[in-house]
Amino acid sequence: MQKFSGFSLIRQALSGHQGWQAQWRTPEPKASYDAIVVGGGGHGLGAAYYMAKEHGLKNIAVLERGWLGGGNTGRNTTIIRSNYLFDESAALFDHAVKLWEGLSQELNYNVMFSQRGVLMLAHTVHDVQSFKRHIHANRLNGVDNEWLSAEEAKEFCPPLNISPGMRYPVVGAALQRRGGVARHDAVAWGYARAADALGVDIIQNCEVTGIRRGVNGAVEGVETTKGFIGSKRIGVSAAGHTSVLMAMAGVRMPLESYPLQALVSEPVKPVFPCVVMSNTIHAYISQSDKGELVIGAGTDAYTSYSQRGALHIATHTLDAICELFPMFRRMRMLRNWGGIVDVTPDRSPIIGKTPVPGLFVNCGWGTGGFKATPGSAHVFAHTIATGEPHKINAPFTLERFRDGLMIDEAAAAAVAH
């Protein structure tokens, strides 16, 4: 792998940047692989990378029906935090944040992980109770999260409107300083480049159309738009389309897929220092390094696979933004898009084995899986490579819905993203 650094950039500049190599190859699929990952988002590419790097598997392919990172990885608002309530979730998301902290160096690719702090606003007594519960649990789990008064919140985020006359006044906030944002495309590309360097075949424009199972029921490979590709180990990491893929192996998933929208404003000079989330009035906002205000909206009320959401959902988000930040009312929406998110009954992911031998699944990240990318990829790699879950993803089984061992973060706090 050609090393990236300020020095290499200067050296290349002298030759008109003619010497840069492809960041990954464009190989044709082989007849078979030791392991196949379906889905070239951050989670899938990351899983291939960690399998190659930490589990010594060399003969791996990632199959992506479109272009790398073209799914939710390249569509999300990139909020990263780990101040989740339940022990299982805190462990999973904090594992990810720890990996985020060294990811640029690990991949030799600047993913621009920016720990500018995630501020979650409390508007009601109920919010306060819920946030305090999170803060206490996080502290005992070793995850940073602190309570700020409304005035302290305003100091941390000067554009915030904390006037008591608001319809839902800000009564305080929970702040995770280690939280922040990252550059989504760079995460996909960085993992792809690093995985490719370890020999992983990344095959784009290759849609999986069937999953072949042998007489004993175990997987034997996948049918694709580029032909049949054999493998005894298949990891599905296809976000909103997981149900479709799993159905190819005869597995019915406890998932519903909804459009989730985001939008950006035109770019402006730095005005917004951190990430602010308000679950009560449905607003999520940060400012990208490019200067755009990045705003997340809610999911549509109906399930769908069309990658766009309804106008009134975006409208509702923007009234909340204007309420919290009245000076942004004259800012303008530049681009609005949607992605399909896969939602489980308890709003926590499923990472693990399936009833089909050799078939593994990583899904159910819903509205908030970008933040987990390195952590999820890391434990999913372990699961595919060893056939057994890592201790961090052991609770996130498919069976928990049958057995009732839910990890219900949404119910606990009605928290998205």
């Binding site: 990236f4 940047h17 272009w67 621009m112 206490h136 390094d289 000076m327 609005n336 898009w337």
Partner: protein, 1002 residues
């Protein structure tokens, strides 16, 4: 007048001069000018700086595609808007605008050093560096990158303007009022159909507003024809004409978003008017007549102020009477540039030469240009320009047989015009999920089939020539209105149009230049400074998909969203990868077409109207008493009633004592209420709630618990059986809508066989709770026809009768543990009855109490609050409600889930009480509970505090908690680690007061 203002012509009103300021300097213009046309008429071309390299930039277009001339507009911060396209800003008297992204000034911008350092800043450079040393990203690199990025500055003050929204239905929505749109609207309007015609410009006419003097339609000049068409349309009552209105988004089922700019062009707007109006239109049929955008040519230094699109320059001269320069070099691959040359020549601009990349140019327009004595060089490309703040010369070179360029010849000029042909504006069509088809002749994509009911007409459908455009407009209008169900009234028409036809064609890609590619910049996306080099670099680095190239190089991601750069990017990719354009594909068009103000989406939804605040009939009374309120879902609830000098704790202590010792009155009106009626009402209740209802006698109540289908507690409330077929169901305050939704969902989708009606009655009843040992005495004198005695009306019963002469449903229920009644009266009588009860209660030293006291009193009794003790993960058994489950019922919502193995795990969290061992520390709600306080982090948490209060009645703090296996830990000491200290607690039964319930049954 400036020598750049033509002495006559144009659509400006010379009788109405205007003065405005740009970067602190005062200029003059006319009504009808845009900021861009006025600046050009004043000879100003340097108006902005680019995003990355801070290169000086001028005005390149005359419309929505402008990527360079972005300005901040507004005299003060309450009305300041950044990033406005000068080409769309209408001039008004006193307008104040400033340039952006420069420091200290537009002419001298320190950031321009980036231009010299540009060899180190190719596409995606930031992915490759700034990684070392690690902490420097946060402390140094990112702050520097952030400060350098961004264009304008966001306003710092709250917006002073208002925004409105409206909804409309129509038979035919026509987007764009150029010749095609006007024709379509005329054809549709004749039938009496409801037609909406919108156009982003200040007046209808589109390209006809800049038409040549010798163009004629049916014997009229273009302008006359437009006026006549608009007049005809205005005569139809069913036609809505919207100027200054952009259709920005095409959503499923022919639902379109339109944004109307109402006052931005007015110096002193009528305060009654909103600044903008968001139209949400549902159209039976849509006609898209959105025109086409001219493509720039990608050649070295194609970005200098004074380089313009040919048709834009023509528009400035013809429509705005503004002369964009004195001597022009024109580079083209399309006939339209010849037309521009002729218009400009007429306007007194000297045409140095026309360089046409095509080997021949033999059409009507080139012939006319030659006839006018303009030098035409075919097979010739433009290979560079000179000048810094303004273009001062251009190089033209012959294209060799192998497609490369010879060394060129220099031409002095202060204007360079370019035309790579026209790209149909298929943005909305593509948003409708329509398929695009590549047209090799036009070198652009044109509309194919759409799943929506729409059709495209005119230039956006790839038509060229006015006659063809008008024809296609009429045809689209007729087709649409027929499809919308209107027959008749449509007449065939014959058109006569005098025009010269432009030969199509065009060019997409990078113009050959024969210079060292390492040292030149040929811009593809001007605003984002992405060059043809960047695109080639991306492909070298393996970014082969068009979406990847876009993201890696940021081409097409600037505020114009690729309007002028997409096709050139595709052309360069096609060359580099050796693949035809259709195989490369095109990036997705996303809404909005042009940026739309946040405030317009928010509309009136701000302040009080952000969410309706629900207030009870008794709210004003409470406010008059000085109550503090809290938000509970949409409701404002009285939180406590402080007397002079009291804080919340003092007030609550007093209120609690009074209820336990005498009586308190509480406004319970916010509780959700649902009337469940019908022959199958009891069966329905049996299925929805965990409880059994069949045997509940009319006149009796029961505490009901509802689970979600996953078996977790969703809501609770007292249910009174009013008659065999009628239940009065109450829900939590916040849960009411969700409960009703879930009930309806089951009723309509799972049990359509049940004969039951559901009606929300939350707003119908005001509910006054009278609680305390003296409660009966308070009510007795007011109630005529109900016997309140314990024998006649035991705990958990309901009676219908009258109070103060008003019809009531009177419940005997208690959420405090005291003798209690809840008086339901029609909401209109709520306040009167409340005041009567209050007057009666005053005889007993009563208090009015709020939600906080209610919480304390119920906690003393161990009554749960759904959403506080439960969090969506608690089963009925977890919170001690197993007794409520109707054991003999075959089924109820959640029953199957409750049978899952883990639901009866003895280690689940269970409801318990906690007492602080020190007898004085009030625990913090949400605090975590551990068994071993000395464990290092991460500690094993076995529970959490759900409710915690100081009990003035008991004289010590109390708390409720959910603790793993809590019911077998009664008597144990557990620990609550807080920052800096750990508190000890004893686990007790979750009932602290009147365990036997004697007071309740009094």
């Amino acid at each position: 007048m400036s020598r750049f203002r033509l002495p006559k012509g144009g659509r400006i009103d010379r009788a109405r001069p205007i003065s405005f300021r740009f970067d602190g300097k005062s200029y003059g213009g006319f009504v009808g000018d845009t900021l861009a046309s006025a600046l050009i008429a004043n000879g100003v071309h340097l108006v902005g700086r680019s995003f990355k390299y801070h290169r000086p930039r001028g005005i390149m277009t005359a419309g929505a595609d402008e990527m360079n001339a972005l300005v901040g507009v507004g005299a003060d911060q309450t009305r300041y808007t950044p990033n406005m396209r000068a080409t769309l800003v209408e001039l008004y008297h006193g307008l104040v605008a400033e340039s952006q992204n420069r420091w200290p000034s537009l002419g001298f911008d320190v950031g321009a050093v980036n231009d010299f350092l540009s060899p180190f800043f190719p596409a995606g450079f930031y992915y490759k560096t700034f990684m070392w040393p690690k902490p420097a990203w946060k402390q140094l690199y990112e702050p520097v990158i952030r400060a350098a990025a961004g264009l304008g500055k966001a306003p710092t003050a709250s917006d002073a303007d208002r925004y409105m929204q409206c909804y409309a239905h129509c038979d035919v929505l026509v987007v764009g009022a150029g010749p095609a749109g006007l024709a379509a609207a005329l054809a549709a309007a004749e039938t009496g159909a409801r037609v909406i015609l919108c156009d982003e410009q200040r007046e209808f006419g589109g390209s006809l507003l800049a038409s040549d003097t010798d163009t004629a339609i049916d014997g009229l000049s273009a302008i006359e024809w437009v006026a006549k068409a608009v007049e005809a349309l205005a005569r139809h009552e069913n036609v809505t004409l919207l100027t200054r209105t952009t259709a920005f988004g095409y959503y499923p089922h022919n639902f379109l978003g339109l944004i109307e700019r109402v006052t931005d062009h007015v110096a002193q707007p009528d305060p009654a008017l909103p600044r903008e109006r968001l139209w949400q239109v549902r159209a039976k049929e849509v006609v898209l007549a959105t025109g086409a955008l001219e493509r720039p040519l990608v050649f070295p230094e194609n970005d200098r102020p004074g380089v313009m699109l040919a048709d834009a320059a023509r528009t400035y001269a013809a429509r705005y009477a503004a002369r964009p320069g004195t001597r022009a070099v024109i580079a083209t691959a399309h006939d339209e540039a010849y037309r521009a040359a002729l218009t400009l020549k007429q306007a007194g601009v000297q045409i140095a030469a026309i360089a046409d990349m095509r080997p021949q140019a033999e059409g009507e327009w080139p012939a006319a240009a030659r006839a006018a004595g303009i030098e035409v060089m075919t097979g010739t490309a433009i290979t560079g320009t000179r000048g810094r703040m303004r273009v001062s010369g251009a190089t033209l070179a012959r294209i060799k047989g192998d497609g490369t360029a010879e060394k060129g010849e220099q031409f002095a000029c202060d204007l360079v015009l370019m035309s790579g042909g026209f790209t149909p504006s298929v943005h909305l069509f593509s948003q409708s999920k329509g398929k695009l088809i590549y047209d090799e002749g036009l070198k652009a994509f044109v509309p194919g089939a759409s799943p929506e009911r729409n059709r495209s007409a005119g230039a956006c459908a790839g038509e060229t020539g006015l006659h063809a455009t008008l024809e296609s407009g009429y045809a689209a209008g007729e087709g649409a209105v027929r499809a919308a169900g209107f027959g008749g009234g449509l007449s065939g028409r014959s058109l006569t149009v005098t025009e010269k036809i432009s030969a199509g064609g065009g060019f997409a890609g990078a113009v050959p230049h024969g210079r060292n590619p390492s040292f030149v910049k040929a811009f593809v996306d001007f605003q984002n400074d992405s060059t043809s080099k960047d695109i080639k670099l991306a492909t070298r680095e393996g970014f082969l998909s068009v979406e990847h190239v876009k993201r890696y190089t940021t081409t097409g991601m600037a505020t114009d969203q690729g309007k002028t750069s997409n096709m050139n990017m595709l052309g360069i990719l096609s060359d580099t990868l050796g693949k035809p354009i259709p195989e490369i594909g095109i990036t997705t068009f996303r809404p909005p077409y042009t940026p739309v103000t946040f405030g317009a989406f928010a509309g009136m939804s701000r302040g009080e109207l952000f969410d309706p605040a629900r207030r009870t009939a008794i709210h004003d009374w409470a406010a008059e008493q000085g109550a503090a309120f809290e938000d509970v879902s949409l409701w404002k609830r009285a939180h406590y009633f402080p007397q002079a000098g009291e804080d919340m704790h003092a007030a609550v202590n007093r209120e609690c004592k009074a209820v336990r010792e005498s009586v308190g009155v509480f406004d319970a009106s916010t509780l959700g209420k649902i009337e469940v009626v019908g022959p199958d009402a009891a069966e329905f209740m049996n299925r929805m709630y965990i409880n059994a209802w069949t045997k509940l006698e009319p006149g009796r109540c029961r505490y009901g618990v509802m689970c979600r289908e996953d078996g977790f507690v969703m809501d609770d409330g007292v249910v009174g059986r009013i008659a065999a077929d009628r239940f009065h169901v109450t829900t939590t305050t916040g849960g009411a809508p969700a409960v009703l939704n879930m009930m309806e969902d089951y009723l309509q989708t799972e049990w359509p066989d049940l004969n039951v009606w559901l009606t929300s009655t939350t707003e119908q009843w005001a509910v006054i709770a009278v609680q305390g040992p003296n409660a009966r005495k308070v009510l007795e004198p007011l109630v005529g026809d109900i016997d309140l005695s314990a024998a006649a009306m035991p705990h958990m019963s309901v009676r219908e009768g009258h109070i103060c002469g008003v019809q009531t449903r009177l419940f005997r229920v208690s959420f405090t543990g005291e003798l209690g009644f809840e008086v339901n009266v029609p909401a209109d009588y709520g306040r009167a009855v409340w005041e009567a009860i209050w007057a009666s209660a005053r005889r007993f030293d009563a208090v009015a109490y709020g939600t906080e006291t209610m919480h304390v009193l119920r906690a003393e009794k161990g009554f749960i609050i759904v959403g506080q003790e439960t969090d969506g993960t608690a089963t009925p058994d977890d919170v001690g409600l197993t007794w409520a489950i109707g054991k003999l019922k075959k089924d109820f919502v959640g029953k199957r889930s409750l049978a899952r193995a883990q639901m009866s795990n003895p280690q689940r969290k269970q409801l318990v009480g906690l007492l602080s061992l020190d007898n004085r520390s009030v625990l913090e709600e949400g605090a975590q509970i551990v068994a071993n306080p000395n464990e290092p982090v991460p500690m094993a948490m076995i529970g959490h505090v759900t409710s915690s209060y100081w009990s003035s009645v008991l004289g010590h703090p109390i708390a409720l908690a959910m603790v793993k296996g809590g019911r077998v830990r009664l008597g144990d000491t557990l620990h609550v680690p807080m920052p800096g200290k750990t508190l000890q607690v004893k686990v007790v039964e979750p009932v602290f007061f009147d365990k036997e319930g004697a007071r309740l049954n009094d």
